[in-house]
């Protein structure tokens, strides 16, 4: 139980790990979305390229925007950027640090989508089958231009009756898939090398500035959280006081209007406190009606 609470508190307090968690979830969601998406190339000359490139580039934009939206730190950064300076100067290095960390995290899911798409190959086959040179493939070499465009456009569709068993179709398909996978692996390699170098070489440049920027960006985040908690706590106390005042004022009003005699029997002390002087049905009804029709002013002085 304690352990569970500790883990909970750890995740809550450390914004960065929450952000990393969200980043990981989005990456998994990206892969899941790709596998559950039913890719179906239109196999028509004008539509193939638009469809193929659209599927390759539009979902990454969506994932990037989702990464920005779901990241709490982006709001913090925007607020810090747009706030009036007041008594506290703005440090551009902090804002730049927050911006770069947000962008890095938001880029993970789109990059994963693009790489998975390239390694799978369907998108590129769909987009570029119409741009292949027909002379290179025996089955398409001696066909008229218009027809060859049609046939090439149908290459991604394995079960099409025209090109189903055509060996040249398989050849084009294999060729394009090979290019696509090569491109995918190259991009992955380049990105990993870039990430490795960035992480390794960073301490060589401006380490002190970096530590400062990281500290203050953490500080701004924690300060915002604590402010929100303090406001919640304050509104709870405010509401408590307001309601107590309301009950008290109702009790005074009832005393004024009913001239009730001093009672011989008092209910037990504890219960009297909780009853707050409201002891019969009419009084309760009046209290509830007043609560609706005339809420007390927001003033507990």
């Amino acid at each position: 139980m304690d352990r569970f609470r500790m883990i909970f508190q750890y995740f809550q307090s450390s914004s960065e790990s929450v952000m990393n968690g969200i980043c990981g979830l989005l990456a998994l969601a990206s892969v899941k979305m790709y596998t559950s998406f039913d890719f179906s190339c239109p196999c028509l000359p004008q539509y193939n390229m638009a469809y193929g490139l659209g599927i390759m580039f539009v979902p990454p934009i969506i994932l990037f925007l989702c990464g920005l939206i779901l990241n709490r730190q982006s709001l913090v950064m925007l607020e810090e950027w747009r706030r009036p300076p007041g008594h506290r100067k703005k440090d551009l290095a902090v804002i730049r640090y927050m911006c770069s960390s947000i962008m890095q995290r938001a880029m993970v899911a789109p990059v994963i989508w693009i790489i998975v798409t390239l390694l799978d190959g369907k998108c590129l086959i769909c987009a570029f089958s119409g741009s292949m040179d027909p002379e290179k493939f025996v089955g398409f070499a001696n066909v008229s231009t218009v027809q060859v465009q049609q046939l090439l456009a149908k290459v991604p569709c394995k079960d099409d009756e025209l090109v189903g068993n055509n060996t040249s179709r398989k050849a084009v398909s294999r060729y394009l898939r090979c290019c696509s996978q090569a491109l995918g692996w190259s991009i992955l390699l380049i990105l990993i090398i870039a990430a490795f170098l960035a992480r390794w070489l960073r301490p060589c440049f401006n380490q002190a500035t970096l530590l400062q920027a990281r500290h203050w960006s953490n500080y701004i985040d924690i300060e915002k959280k604590i402010f929100e908690e303090a406001c919640c706590e304050h509104s709870r106390l405010f509401a408590h006081k307001c309601i107590l005042h309301f009950f008290e004022s109702m009790r005074q009003e009832i005393k004024l209007h009913s001239f009730s005699l001093p009672r011989e029997e008092e209910p037990a002390e504890g219960e009297a406190d909780l009853l707050r002087g409201i002891t019969d049905q009419d009084q309760v009804n009046k209290l509830l009606k007043t609560w609706y029709y005339e809420k007390p002013p927001l003033d507990v002085s």
């Binding site: 539509y47 539009v58 009756e161 009672r263």
Partner: protein, 338 residues
């Protein structure tokens, strides 16, 4: 059990994350509903469009309304909107904030349904199969077919088993074409929604941050105040009931003593708490009478001790009339519910 309660308390205390949780559950429910739904295109010329567009647009509307219904804050918003001004002014900015945050959450499940439907493609294929451009995709020069016939043949595109227009236009070609359009629409829709959400979220700090902080604070305040008031009333009702029942038992026991003229009993010295709790009712007959009286003649909702039946001059002068109105109160007790 403890762990479960802690999770529950965490979600309850943090209203926003609770609402986000409901929102996420509804989005998942929406995808689950779509995959469980058995889509059955009618494959008839005029019914296809109605069916397809109906499945595309009616469930999102239902999910949107459901999103409002499941949101606890809707009654809070309505109450704040309709309450009379009284001593506390109304702030339209707070009302707008509450409505916007509820509407945003309620929009998610319908948007998920529409995206999943468009990306799957069955609805658009069903709705627009009669509008496929036969000239570019098939053999428009197919002879001896009137417009109506062509429409009927095209309407059967989604139903592969009964499709008989292979010469007019190949079924796979038409389905691929329609599905491609549907998926393009789907991705554009998702992109549009995401861009809107991004703009709404990122433009706010640039323009109205102070007003936003104010509205958020007061909307939380109204929520907390309502909860605390309910808790206070519940506490009050509990104490009221306790005292009322205590007075009932004491009343019964005094009546019995008066009726039977019991000799003053020597209470055993060491009975203590147990004797107190018995409230003077110590045998079967008495208990049965107490229970019968509780059922037949519940006590009035009034914790003041009633004035003595033989008026002694004190009853009057503005004292709330207990006896004449006791029957009224008894009837009212069944209807008015605190």
């Amino acid at each position: 059990m403890d762990k479960f309660r802690m999770i529950f308390q965490f979600f309850q205390s943090n209203q926003e994350s609770f609402m986000n949780g409901i929102c996420g559950i509804m989005a998942l429910a929406s995808t689950q509903m779509y995959s469980a739904f058995d889509f059955n295109c009618p494959c008839l010329p005029h019914y296809n469009l109605a069916y397809g567009l109906g499945i595309l647009l009616v469930p999102p509307f239902i999910l949107f309304l459901l999103g409002f219904v499941l949101n606890n804050n809707i009654s809070m918003l309505a109450e704040e909107w309709r309450r009379p001004q009284g001593q506390r002014g109304k702030d339209p900015a707070v009302l707008r904030y509450m409505f916007c945050s509820m509407a945003q959450r309620a929009m998610i499940a319908p948007a998920v349904w529409v995206s999943v439907t468009l990306l799957d493609g069955k609805c658009i294929t069903c709705a627009f199969c009669t509008s496929v451009p036969v000239e570019s995709l098939g053999n428009a020069s197919h002879p001896h077919l009137s417009q109506g016939e062509i429409q009927r043949v095209l309407a059967r595109i989604p139903c592969k088993e009964i499709y008989n227009g292979q010469q007019l236009i190949a079924n796979e070609v038409a389905v691929r074409y329609l599905r491609c359009i549907s998926q393009a629409l789907g991705w554009c829709f998702v992109l549009l929604m995401t861009t809107l959400a991004f703009l709404v979220r990122s433009l706010r700090p640039c323009f109205s941050q102070a007003a936003f902080l104010k509205s958020r604070y007061w909307s939380h305040y109204i929520d907390i105040e309502r909860k605390l008031f309910d808790e206070t009333c519940a506490e009050h009702a509990r104490s009221f009931a306790k005292v009322c029942i205590q007075q009932f038992f004491e009343g019964m026991s005094t009546d019995l003593v008066a009726a039977r003229c019991h000799l003053p009993r020597k209470a055993p010295a060491d009975a203590g708490e147990a004797a107190e709790k018995l409230l003077g009712i110590t045998d079967q007959g008495t208990m049965n009478m107490a229970l019968k009286s509780w059922h037949r003649c519940k006590p009035p909702l009034n914790l003041h001790p009633p004035a003595l039946p033989t008026g002694n001059g004190w009853a009057g002068e503005g004292q709330p009339p207990t006896h004449p109105s006791a029957p009224r109160r008894e009837t009212a007790a069944y209807y008015s519910w605190v």
